[in-house]
């Protein structure tokens, strides 16, 4: 009977093909919503995998997280170096990396930090940064490029670059007189680090008009802070359970208003606020799938009239009305299964063809994983809905073949 269903579908291949395409595209949409959500979430989680606490000037936690680690949006206030110094000297803190943001090269963010960044930053499953070429910066005239930044700017180790003020694509105040030399290029991480230009805090100070400490030739060796103020700091703690207490202490820090956040928890909060949109998208794409399936229902119902003779022939050779019913249901099932499979294939095709663009635009690396449980569920629901809808034409054909028997009056 499956063979009969296949041949019957092939016979009506034009309308069947259109229906399959409509359902397949809608299935792709449905899966893409789920996959984007999941990939964005793992990507964000990967980026902050080694950081226990992020601190910055008083602002909302989500804003601090997005601007400090993901370079989305900008920070309006800075925290003082004194406050950073005070907090990093606390016994609970194992390491602290200051970062200063706000400059850019060709639209790519400049992250001014210390060498500790390379030592302590972790991504993915707690991997540390490694160099594809060169090494970390050692003085204020040197920069390290992320993998994507290096290829976008077309710079190699030894090339010079100029930093512009502001994070826009084009800036009128380029710090031309301070070219920096590329000394290292990082290996690809699949995080926003790939897009960044890393330099030392002191070099940023120099660019912004502070005096170079190299040319600073007074004899004493008192420690200068590398910067007056910083945008944020990443902290690693000696023991995770200390995080909550330290967070409270920083949030109520007396000398100046600060914000501390636990990256994992703040991300959860972010996803919670975005869930409404995500659900709206899911609902819309489900509707699109339903429209596709209703299209299938329409062509099946429309074809019933012209297929009455076909049903009578089947009855003549001994098919019962139940067989006629089964034939129509299996046709619809076949059609939806093929459509769902093509939808899945289309999703992978899109992922594969857009992966490059998505990475360079957003820094998100798509991983080609097998469908997740949630995706299988969605596919299953599509096929189940197709099955349920097919009961309508199947039932009509059943009634029709009972009434018609062998004499079709068309």
């Amino acid at each position: 009977m499956i063979k009969l269903a296949i041949k019957s579908l092939l016979n009506r291949r034009a309308s069947v093909l259109l229906t399959v395409i409509a359902i397949a595209v809608s299935v792709t949409l449905l899966l893409a919503v789920e996959r984007t959500r999941e990939q964005v979430q793992t990507n964000f989680a990967n980026t902050v995998s080694g950081t226990d606490l992020i601190i910055g000037a008083r602002t909302s936690q989500i804003q601090l997280l997005l601007s400090s680690v993901f370079h989305i949006g900008s920070m309006t206030n800075n925290m003082s170096w004194e406050a950073f110094d005070d907090i990093r000297s606390r016994p609970a803190v194992e390491w602290a990396v200051p970062i200063s943001l706000g400059d850019s090269v060709g639209g790519l963010p400049v992250v001014a930090t210390t060498k500790d960044y390379f030592k302590h930053f972790r991504y993915g499953s707690k991997q540390s940064l490694t160099f594809a070429a060169g090494d970390a910066f050692h003085d204020e005239k040197q920069v390290v490029l992320g993998a994507e930044a290096a290829s976008k700017l077309n710079k190699k180790v030894g090339n010079d670059i100029t930093i512009a003020h502001g994070s826009g694509g084009i800036s009128f105040s380029e710090h031309d007189e301070h070219p920096l030399t590329v000394v290292g290029i990082l290996k690809r991480t699949g995080t926003p680090v790939d897009q960044t230009i890393l330099t030392s805090l002191t070099s940023l100070e120099v660019i912004h008009g502070g005096e170079s400490r190299d040319k600073h030739d007074h004899g004493d060796s008192h420690a200068h802070p590398p910067a007056e103020s910083i945008s944020a700091a990443l902290l690693g703690l000696k023991a995770k359970p200390l995080a909550l207490r330290l967070q409270r202490q920083i949030n109520t820090y007396k000398p100046e208003p600060l914000t501390a956040l636990l990256p994992g928890m703040t991300l959860q909060e972010l996803w919670k606020t975005l869930r409404v949109f995500e659900q709206a998208l899911t609902v819309i794409s489900s509707m699109v799938v339903l429209i596709g399936l209703l299209g299938m229902l329409t062509i099946m119902l429309a074809s019933l009239r012209e297929r009455r003779r076909e049903m009578a022939v089947l009855r003549a050779v001994g098919a019962g009305p139940g067989t006629v019913f089964g034939l129509l249901v299996s046709e619809a099932l076949l059609l939806t299964v093929v459509a769902a499979a093509s939808g899945l294939a289309l999703l992978y095709l899109l992922e594969w063809s857009l992966a490059g663009v998505i990475q360079s635009q957003t820094g998100i690396v798509l991983s080609f994983a097998w469908p997740t449980v949630a995706e299988w569920w969605r596919l299953g629901l599509v096929v189940a809905t197709g099955f349920v809808l097919s009961l309508i034409p199947a039932w009509r054909a059943y009634r029709q073949s009972l009434a018609d028997g062998l004499t079709v009056k068309v």
Binding site: S8, L314, V317, G318, A319, T407
Partner: protein, 232 residues
């Protein structure tokens, strides 16, 4: 053994309506070829749907080869039809998207008994259908062609091959020649009867054309048979 045996049969399409068909007594002998003539409205399609087991009489008895159809369930009647009855329509006998060969093979799709009969004759269903189609005058290429590309006359031959495949004991033909011209009609009937005779198949051939009666053993007027509407 009698092929068809009817006693006190009465059937109406809707409950509480006067009967469309009433037959007191009717028998067809095994191997007999019979021409059944009736104008439209004489209860022809009703009788055929009862013989094929699509519908069941409300009253009376209808047996085919000793099996009382009226006592079988709908599903059992479908099985019985698949195993024992070859059926040819007036036209549109074929699934247009199947080849002539696959259309003929449909006869075996729902009947393992037909397959067994073919196996007993030492053939595969494919070979048997192929031979039958050749016998009915289809060329090698026509046998593989999709049914919709065949002419009406060729389509009717494929329908005959399907009806006769696996040697069913009863062949019902419902005006199978009405779409054919006189020349094709006569050769079609002769071939049909010749192939049926080989398997000792009982043939009930329905037509409105009494001139064809010379080909058949007996000739029955449905108006004589059907007592419905006749007031006593």
């Amino acid at each position: 053994m009698t092929a068809v045996s009817v006693r006190d049969l009465s059937f109406s399409w809707k409950r509480n309506e006067p009967a469309t068909l009433e037959i007191l007594e009717w028998q067809v002998q095994n191997g007999e070829t019979l021409l059944l003539r009736g104008p439209s409205g004489s209860g022809k399609s009703t009788l055929l749907s009862l013989l094929a087991g699509i519908n069941s009489p409300q009253k009376g008895e209808l047996s085919l080869f000793g099996t009382p159809l009226s006592k079988l369930s709908g599903r059992q009647r479908d099985r019985f039809r698949a195993d024992n009855i070859g059926y040819i329509f007036q036209q549109f006998n074929l699934l247009p998207y199947l080849s002539a060969l696959d259309n003929a093979l449909l006869a075996c799709q729902f009947s393992s008994i037909r397959k067994e009969r073919i196996a007993k004759a030492g053939e595969t269903p494919e070979a048997s259908a192929h031979n039958m189609l050749k016998r009915l005058g289809l060329s090698e290429s026509q046998i593989q062609q999709p049914a919709h590309s065949l002419s009406v006359g060729q389509q009717q031959r494929v329908a005959a091959a399907r009806a006769l495949l696996g040697a069913p004991p009863l062949l019902i033909a419902d005006e199978p020649t009405s779409a054919l011209d006189a020349e094709h009609r006569d050769s079609f009937i002769q071939l049909l009867l010749e192939l049926s005779a080989k398997n000792d198949t009982t043939v009930i051939f329905v037509t409105h054309d009494a001139a064809l009666s010379r080909y058949f053993d007996s000739h029955v007027e449905l108006n004589d048979l059907n007592k419905a509407g006749v007031t006593a």
